[in-house]
């Protein structure tokens, strides 16, 4: 059960032990907390946790063995690594939507993420080099249902199908309001 005032970022990190999405600015500016919600990249610090009810949330942990990660390694797409999880998730979403993006498309999507280390060129090279193959690969995604008040331990890995129907919102089963 989550507190209705929790953000998706807080739920992922503190309740589910998924530490890939980072606390950066917590104001929707830096993108270090980027995850996919319903297939779209969002900044988890700006999403109420209750909105994950019944949704599929893909975190960076769900991109294991992904060619994109290898491209970041090979192209020097990171230094300290703090922003990298957010870039990986956003870049993955970009390549799902645009398997062969142009430079402008890459910049349009990735301007949602800040990096203080690399100067962005290595990141852009990584996305370009990963482009021809990412869309055709399967993602190894570990799905785990969350039942009632049972929470994952720290070893939870991969995406989370958040069965948050019970307890989402105060006294409101399923997070949906009947006529009050």
């Amino acid at each position: 059960m989550v507190h209705p005032g929790e953000t998706l970022l807080e739920m992922l990190r503190e309740r589910l032990g998924l530490l890939g999405a980072k606390r950066g600015c917590e104001n929707g500016d830096c993108g270090a907390c980027t995850v996919l919600l319903g297939g779209r990249p969002v900044k988890a610090c700006l999403v109420p946790a209750v909105e994950a009810d019944g949704a599929v949330v893909l975190t960076v942990e769900g991109l294991r063995d992904e060619r994109l990660r290898q491209a970041f390694l090979e192209q020097g797409g990171f230094q300290c690594g703090f922003c990298t999880a957010g870039f990986l998730v956003n870049a993955f979403a970009l390549l799902q939507a645009h398997p062969d993006p142009g430079d402008e498309e890459i910049r349009l999507w990735l301007e949602a993420n800040l990096c203080r280390c690399t100067g962005y060129e290595g990141i852009e090279r990584a996305v370009r080099s990963a482009a021809p193959g990412v869309a055709s690969l399967k993602i190894e995604v570990a799905e785990r249902g969350i039942e009632d008040e049972e929470h994952a331990d720290g070893s939870l890995d991969g995406a989370c199908r958040c069965g948050m129907g019970r307890g989402a919102g105060r006294g409101d089963p399923g997070g949906r309001a009947a006529s009050r």
Binding site: G5, G28, P41, L46, W109, E111, A112, G171
Partner: protein, 290 residues
């Protein structure tokens, strides 16, 4: 996290939403309609609001419509800005929406939230005002449908308990030639110093601006200035003169702050209006700038 006791409701109908809102008001609770939640979370973190009831509008079908209805374009207030862009039913609106914040945040920012929010830019309202859009509202008294300009003057002014459900634009206006220009201090995702929208509406060129003043301004406030200098064809002022007249008309309303001086904002405003008028001159290709 938003501290305190909060209830999040997700009604399936407008009447449920209105009833929930009324009940919360009756209990003396701080209640907010929302779709994207970005502004609510930001303001709550800053302690500027203390919401006790949040009513999520995204499950209400009327708030999520996007399409044509009897020769009119209909867009729900709970559509996120990327959905507005991807539908591309009104190119000027798509251009304006595509420049608000960044691509990821636009997956959360809603059309209605951008129009009704507290941030002073409200850039997506500019194309709608220029196109003489109609607003469909729902509240305790039921539906209201009226010109958007009647409920928007610098900000959206609704009756208590009312919410913006959707907007309607004629297909003709949505397809009209247009111009969109925006300048920021730093990167493209910054707040605008100046945004200019021009639409070749049926009645003539319609201008909307944001960023230059502390509030967006639409054709109602700017038309007289825009058309000043339009005499007979021999005396018609050119784009440069007309842009200068609009800037002079705004005068002290053009703001200066830590992002830019009033002088610089005025310069940008005049530049973009001139450019827009030039682009919409006969024989020129219309469309957006960078």
């Amino acid at each position: 996290m938003i501290p305190g006791t909060i209830e999040v409701l997700r009604p399936d109908t407008l009447s449920e939403a209105a009833s929930a809102h009324a009940e919360a008001i009756g209990e003396g609770l701080d209640v907010h309609f929302y779709a994207g939640s970005t502004e609510i979370l930001s303001l709550a973190r800053q302690g500027r609001i203390r919401p006790e009831v949040l009513i999520d509008l995204k499950s209400i079908p009327e708030c999520r419509e996007a399409g044509m209805d009897g020769g009119e374009l209909v867009m729900g207030a709970a559509l996120c800005l990327n959905e507005v862009v991807e539908a591309d039913l009104f190119p000027l609106l798509s251009a304006a929406a595509a420049r608000v914040a960044d691509h990821t945040v636009r997956n959360r920012l809603s059309l209605g939230g951008n129009i009704a929010g507290r941030l002073p830019y409200r850039e997506t309202v500019l194309p709608l005002l220029a196109a003489e859009a109609e607003a469909e509202l729902y509240g305790p008294e039921g539906w209201r449908r009226l010109p958007l300009r009647q409920v928007f003057s610098r900000r959206l002014n609704l009756s208590p308990g009312e919410l913006l459900v959707r907007v309607r634009v004629s297909a003709e206006a949505a397809a009209a030639p247009w111009y969109h220009g925006r300048r920021e201090r730093g990167t493209r995702v910054d707040y605008p110093l100046v945004t200019v929208c021009l639409l070749e509406a049926r009645a003539g060129l319609a201008l909307g601006i944001s960023g230059a003043c502390g509030y967006p301004l639409g054709p109602g406030e700017l038309q007289a200035a825009l058309e000043a200098g339009l005499g007979d064809s021999a005396n018609q002022a050119g784009p440069a003169d007309r842009a200068r007249i609009v800037r002079a008309h705004l005068g002290g309303q053009i703001k200066g702050d830590f992002r830019a001086s009033a002088e610089y904002r005025g310069f940008l405003l005049e530049t973009l209006i001139r450019e827009g008028l030039q682009r919409l001159s006969p024989g020129q290709a219309a469309g957006k700038t960078r």
